[in-house]
């Protein structure tokens, strides 16, 4: 099959309608392997439906998708052996204990009884749930529950991990714990596709972001690109030593690939940029060249502004009106 091997997930024109609801209305995605990909959108945007299609739980009405080159409709079983899903709502059995849930999954994935038991113990310890191992999951706190959900998804380390709104409703501390877990998973080579309603979450975690609304991708790119697409941002740099300014100008022009403006302030330079990663590299370049930077700032629009510009309404407000929405499937 024709496929790009370095793409973990590739979707073309995915469509899923429920009656007159166009839940997914022609979504294209290209998720590079080994990265975190954020699917950002308000409640009802079609995130869960898209994830369910990509993990073979739902048949699309149109379009195609592959996971590591395997077609989700023609090779669903192969796809299931590559992916793992942490659903938006309770994705483990709440009546069972933490250990029982993980042993159950270990057995279903092919471990022997003792291997499954050992794997469960290791995971519970790694996720800080050892003390709650023999407690029913329904008695876990929200943060603990999310951690057991994720642990259940990596009993066998998947190639691609789908996380559907992993931090919705969590307190900031639990949210940070989940973020840490995701970062570690990616450093271990797993590709993560996560959906979120939180702009800062996508900004913090995701290498690339697809903004979806009403079942359509309305913007795609790095968070820097998204911000730049709304109105190019600017980087402002202040040096310690005005003598170094011509050097700095030369370096920055080369690194950023755009004209650099010398400001009235004899230590200040600025440039319009598209990509915050590029800026980070340019600044480290300056420091490496022995040009001391007193301060720098990125005058970029926030993702909130991005969403507002793209949809004509703020994302956070759109998410408020359907709390606790539950899918019928």
């Amino acid at each position: 099959m024709k496929s790009t091997p370095d793409l973990a997930v590739e979707a073309t024109g995915l469509i899923k309608h429920f009656g007159s609801t166009r839940a997914v209305d022609g979504i294209d995605l290209a998720v590079p392997a080994g990265t975190v990909y954020g699917v950002l959108g308000p409640n009802g945007a079609g995130k869960t439906t898209a994830v369910r299609i990509l993990t073979t739980l739902q048949q699309p009405d149109g379009g195609t998708a592959t996971v590591l080159g395997h077609d989700i409709q023609r090779e669903p079983d192969t796809v299931r052996s590559l992916v793992s899903l942490t659903g938006q709502f309770a994705s483990v059995d709440e009546d069972l204990t933490g250990t029982e849930n993980l042993v159950l999954l270990g057995r279903l994935l092919g471990y022997s009884r003792s291997q499954a038991r050992r794997r469960a113990d290791d995971l519970l310890t790694a996720f800080g749930l050892a003390d709650a191992a023999d407690r029913q999951v329904k008695k876990y706190s929200g943060g603990m529950r999310r951690r057991i959900d994720i642990a259940a998804s990596i009993v066998v380390t998947p190639e691609v991990l789908f996380l559907d709104e992993p931090t919705t409703g969590l307190d900031p501390r639990s949210r940070n714990q989940v973020w840490d877990i995701i970062r570690v998973l990616v450093s271990g080579g797993t590709t993560v596709l996560l959906t979120t309603q939180y702009l800062d979450e996508a900004d913090q975690l995701a290498d690339r972001i697809a903004v979806i609304d009403h079942g359509k991708v309305i913007a795609e790119g790095t968070s820097g690109e998204l911000k730049a697409s709304v109105g190019a941002g600017a980087v402002h740099v202040r040096l310690r030593d005005p003598v170094k300014r011509p050097d700095a100008e030369r370096h920055l022009t080369k690194a950023l690939g755009v004209p650099v403006l010398l400001e009235h302030d004899p230590v200040a330079l600025s440039a319009r940029v598209e990509d915050s990663d590029l800026v980070a590299r340019a600044i480290s370049g300056l420091i490496a060249a022995g040009i001391e930077v007193a301060e720098f700032s990125l005058g970029q629009p926030s993702l909130d502004e991005v969403f507002l510009a793209l949809t004509g309404r703020p994302a956070e407000e759109a998410t408020e009106d359907a709390p606790g929405e539950e899918t019928a499937a």
Partner: protein, 283 residues
């Protein structure tokens, strides 16, 4: 403006988690794919765990049979057969059938409840033999049917039921009944996947089951019934099942009676098993 933190190691706790996690991650290699039998049995084990954690769900398979047996024995015993003792010899195999067949409705009820939870999505996204969650659920239910059967038989023995077929006859009757009940179970897994709520499954299930159990030879000899009813009773599968059960317990069952029950179970599975799987895939 948000700042980019290059690593997770903002504090000591996170670092400790990281080290364990990285070690744990590398350990999660994929074992060989398990057989369908293993995964189905594993789901059966899950059903047992659920009974362990939610023992209330055994009430309906223990209390209901006790109430039914006592009620019908003492209510109808004197009137229908002259004495409680002699009616019990007739009634017990029938009440056993009614108890277990009513319990099969819970198979659909439980599946409908279970499948609406997120954990079923996880099961469905695993690379396993696809029917295993359903087959495992039926295996778990077979245990519930066995519990119900045991309650009825033991209570019957206490009340004075003395089967001529002996231990072998009674055990044989229970086994054949479990096979038939598992076949019926597929009807209710189908219903469980079609209907929206667990209560709808319960309502519709009972509506289907009730006429079949009452318009049968469970409680009275059909020769006392009006002829239009008799003709229904004669073709009612439950009647055939009860005849086989009585025969087995009395030690007089014919191969034809038993063969009919096994065939019916096979036919039910052949029709409603694939239908259930078809619906399950589409969910």
């Amino acid at each position: 403006m948000s700042t980019h933190q290059p690593t997770a190691a903002k504090n000591g706790v996170a670092t400790a988690v990281d080290e364990n996690l990285i070690a744990t991650l590398t350990a999660g290699s994929r074992p060989p794919r398990p057989s369908g039998v293993t995964t189905a049995l594993t789901f059966g084990w899950r059903a047992m765990l659920k009974i362990k954690h939610v023992p209330e769900q055994l009430f309906d398979v223990t209390l209901t049979p006790i109430i039914f047996t006592l009620m019908f024995t003492y209510l109808f015993g004197g009137a229908l057969a002259g004495s409680v003792e002699s009616y019990l010899q007739f009634l017990l195999p029938g009440i056993l059938v009614q108890t277990v067949i009513l319990t099969t409705v819970y198979t659909g009820f439980t599946l409908n409840t279970d499948i609406s939870k997120g954990v079923f999505d996880r099961f469905r996204s695993l690379p396993i033999w696809r029917p295993s969650p359903l087959v495992g659920a039926l295996l778990g239910d077979a245990v519930r049917y066995a519990v119900a059967s045991t309650v009825v038989v033991v209570l019957g023995l206490v009340l004075g039921f003395r089967p001529d077929g002996g231990v072998i006859g009674v055990v044989g009757a229970v086994v054949i009944l479990l096979v038939f009940a598992s076949g019926i179970g597929w009807i209710f897994t189908t219903l469980g996947l079609i209907l929206r709520t667990p209560n709808a499954v319960m309502g519709v299930g009972m509506m289907i089951i009730m006429p079949f159990t009452f318009a049968s030879n469970i409680f009275v000899d059909p020769s006392t019934m009006p002829s239009w009813l008799q003709s229904f009773v004669d073709v009612n599968p439950i009647t055939h099942l009860v005849t086989a059960e009585r025969g087995l317990m009395a030690g007089t069952a014919s191969a034809g009676d038993i063969g009919w029950v096994l065939l019916a179970a096979a036919a039910l599975t052949a029709v409603f098993g694939p239908l259930t799987m078809y619906l399950y895939r589409r969910r």
